[in-house]
């Protein structure tokens, strides 16, 4: 549940909150690409450190920690799967642990980059960003609605969970396969509610003449300011360095002999 906390906008007046949403989206995307192209623990840790600095300056560290706490089971699964698949290929524990740690931290980088974007950007700003990126309004609306309904769904999930626990369902008990099976009584009512809600929303939008006018105008326009451009340039430079390191084969795991032991080619 707390995993969803990181997708919920919290008002704030920090520098990060006031950044142009397009810059924030570009930053998150660049962090994501850098993390995808590198399987290098040093670079992943560096990205995580940069993200932590931005999170601290945005003063959303408590919510970020909640999100990370909620994602820990997922991180544990990634860790276990990576360790065993690596170990089955090459039965060296240190290598298995090295890769498992890298992949787990990489997942945290992904989560943090998007958590940061959603925590500091209002749904309206997200809609404007997508609109100015020429995404058709229907898709923008669908995406923004999905974000808006995330906390509602989190609440519904809690209600369904309570209802099934009141019927003797113990979601956290038993072996892994049983726990997975135990999710069915929770997910089915939730899915039914989501489908019903989407129909209701569609009807409500049609009643309000959604799509009647092809030409949409916005009251607010996004304008890049000097600080936005400065921030974007810094991020672009860091991104270029990250890509160059990959293209030139200068990753720390390849250049530092100590790390090379843990991460053979």
């Amino acid at each position: 549940m707390s995993l969803f906390e990181g997708l919920r906008f919290r008002p704030g007046t920090t520098f990060v909150h006031r950044l142009d949403p397009r810059v924030k989206l570009a930053t998150s995307t660049m962090v994501l690409i850098t993390a995808v192209i590198h399987i290098d623990i040093v670079i992943i840790l560096f990205l995580l450190m940069l993200e932590s600095l931005v999170i601290l300056s945005a003063k959303v560290q408590n919510l970020w920690i909640k999100t990370i706490r909620g994602a820990l089971p997922l991180v544990a699964i990634v860790f276990a799967i990576t360790f065993f698949s690596q170990y089955s290929r090459e039965p060296v524990i240190s290598t298995g642990l090295g890769y498992a740690l890298t992949y787990s931290l990489r997942l945290l980088v992904f989560l943090s980059s998007f958590s940061l974007f959603f925590l500091t950007t209002t749904p309206d700003e997200i809609a404007l960003t997508l609109q100015q990126l020429r995404v058709p309004y229907e898709y923008t609306f669908a995406f923004v609605s999905a974000i808006r309904f995330t906390p509602v769904m989190a609440e519904e999930l809690q209600v369904v969970l309570d209802a099934q626990r009141a019927r003797g369902l113990e979601v956290d008990k038993g072996p892994f396969t049983k726990r997975l099976r135990n999710l069915i009584p929770v997910l089915v009512p939730l899915l039914v509610n989501v489908i019903r809600r989407s129909y209701e929303l569609a009807e409500a939008m049609e009643v309000k003449c959604f799509g009647a006018s092809r030409k949409r105008t916005s009251l607010k326009q996004l304008n890049m300011r000097r600080k936005d451009i400065f921030f974007l340039v810094v991020v672009l430079i860091l991104f270029s360095v990250g890509v160059s390191v990959k293209l030139l084969g200068l990753e720390p795991v390849k250049t530092l002999p100590l790390l090379g032991q843990f991460f053979p080619d």
Binding site: D162, Q164, A166, V186, N193
Partner: protein, 275 residues
């Protein structure tokens, strides 16, 4: 005692102080209505009985068990909670399996499961829908199915959260009849509701809640006819009470909760006048 609340406080993670020092006792076989405006703490109170919520201060004892030391599954066996929105618990492909789900969780044998499910479906007049999808039932039937699900394992305490919401008058009548039957069987029945007319006909013990505190606790006749108390809990008195309050000058008693009471009052005054 069925359940005892000792100075219970509960604060939601959103910092809403939902219960503020609630102390109550529910006796075995009692029929109790918890009433109050939205957010007064009715549902929060019910969720403490089967351990879905644990007090942040104070304690709740249910059938001798301190809820802080027991799991929801353990407590649910003695205290069943029927949720406001029945559909929030449905997931099986047919009504029979929906009722059997909890019984299987509690470890009953298949033979016992079959017998109990059949009995519960019959009790709630749902036996003809046994193989039908629960999602295809009408609103009233869904509510009755939610009650059958809980009643199947015969908990000694039954908590109903807003049992009449979204129900037409015929379904309400059936619901009233079933609640009375459950109570007659010696079960403690707790209702959280705004529906004053429904409560007036059931004549339970009434507990008024406001902002997480108990503002009144007593007989239905005394509480639902007291304008000051009812206002405090932001609910309305039954319509007949308003009507008879206007006729007080003519010698009518305004503590009239249902049609039978009203007729008795009118006949009494008419007879008195004819003498």
């Amino acid at each position: 005692m069925s359940a005892i609340f000792e100075s219970v406080h509960y604060i939601y993670p959103s910092k809403v102080h939902a219960l503020r020092g609630v102390s109550l006792e529910f006796r075995p076989g009692e029929l109790v209505a918890l009433m109050g405006e939205n957010g007064s703490g009715k549902t929060t109170l019910l969720k403490h009985i089967n351990g879905l919520l644990k007090p942040v201060k104070g304690r709740v004892i249910v059938e001798g068990i301190d809820t802080r030391t027991a799991s929801v599954a353990q407590l649910s066996q003695v205290a069943g909670l029927v949720f406001q929105n029945a559909e929030e618990m449905f997931f099986e492909s047919n009504v029979f399996d929906e009722v059997a789900f909890a019984l299987r969780n509690f470890g009953y044998s298949e033979e016992v499961v079959r017998k109990r499910v059949e009995w519960a479906l019959k009790f709630f007049e749902l036996d003809t829908y046994s193989s039908q999808s629960p999602f295809l039932l009408s609103g009233g039937e869904k509510k009755r199915l939610a009650m059958a699900i809980i009643l199947a394992w015969s908990p000694r305490i039954i908590c109903l959260d807003e049992p009449t919401i979204g129900q037409d008058s015929l379904q309400k009548e059936k619901m009233k009849h079933m609640i009375k039957m459950l109570n007659t069987q010696g079960r403690t029945v707790l209702l959280a509701t705004h529906d004053v007319e429904f409560v007036a006909e059931l004549r339970p013990r009434v507990i008024l809640l406001s902002k997480g505190e108990v503002v009144a606790d007593g007989k239905c006749e005394e509480i639902l006819t007291d304008e000051t108390l009812v206002k405090k809990a932001s609910i309305l008195m039954p319509q007949l009470v308003y009507a008879f309050k206007r006729l007080e000058d003519l010698g009518f008693d305004s503590r009239v909760l249902d049609v039978d009471d009203g007729v008795r009052q009118v006949l009494k005054v008419l007879r008195h006048e004819s003498v």
